[in-house]
Amino acid sequence: MEDDLLMQKAAAGDVEAFGRLVRRYQRRLVRFVERMTGDAETAEDAAQEAFLRLWRTRETYRPQGSLSSYLLRIVRNLCLDHARTGAAAARRERAVTGASWIEGPAAHIEAKSLAEAVRKAVHELPEPQRAVFVLSEYEGLPYREIAEALGCPVGTVASRKRLALETLRRRLAPWREERCPK
């Protein structure tokens, strides 16, 4: 059943119809936030919050684009809030402990495996590039849908994706040479 039809049923109070929508998109949202923040718990909280916001506004919800893009926009904003609060907490921590810097969970990980190297490289991308890269590479969304979800032109998506992939090409060069020695 189409998203719009399920949303109409949900707007009328049909919890099961809403459940079908949640089950359809929950994994995508959780994966996206986990890759953006590096934290599985935050990811589940953010996905839950996005669905609750959708439920609370179900009667006034008017689709402007796909439901998937709408939900991704909500969780992306929650990620930005999370990063801001994290940065504020880190500033407070620095003031108290005198630590020179504090980073997120992905910091200081010596890449012992390719998966760790990739995770670290993606985590260190600037946030707008990371969002595009994750949605394109891991969720397989076309540029048009990514543009809709992130609220930017398709051309911007293309240039962010290019910059992100170029960064990964450089960062993963040692692994590439190990896998395919000259």
Partner: protein
Amino acid sequence: MSEMTCARAQARLTALLDAELTERMSARLRAHLAECADCKRHWNELAAAREMAQAWTVEGGEVWEAVRQEIAPGDFSALMAEMAALRAALQDVRAEVAALRRELAARPAEPARRPSAPLFPVLPPEQSLLRIV
């Protein structure tokens, strides 16, 4: 048609990998790659980076149960009440079974049965049917 320079080609390689170019632009770019070793090497490196990126996997959890409890607490409470009632009923049945077991264990053992009378008594020879026949 403007000439495809290496700079222009390399700026479009990612979009080519993502199948986001028009057929015409893809054909021009592929023609350039067939002739330019530098751009071909760059293309191979980008393709390898994309492939390596897949080494990082994330499962993605489920949140529906948590959401459902928030949006339909009434339904959830009713379900929990039903479960509590079923649990209480099960405990009653368990108590009954335990009482029966105790009663059975407390009963004195029944005396051994005497052998019952034969169903067909053995007749004296003068009454035997065999003899009549």
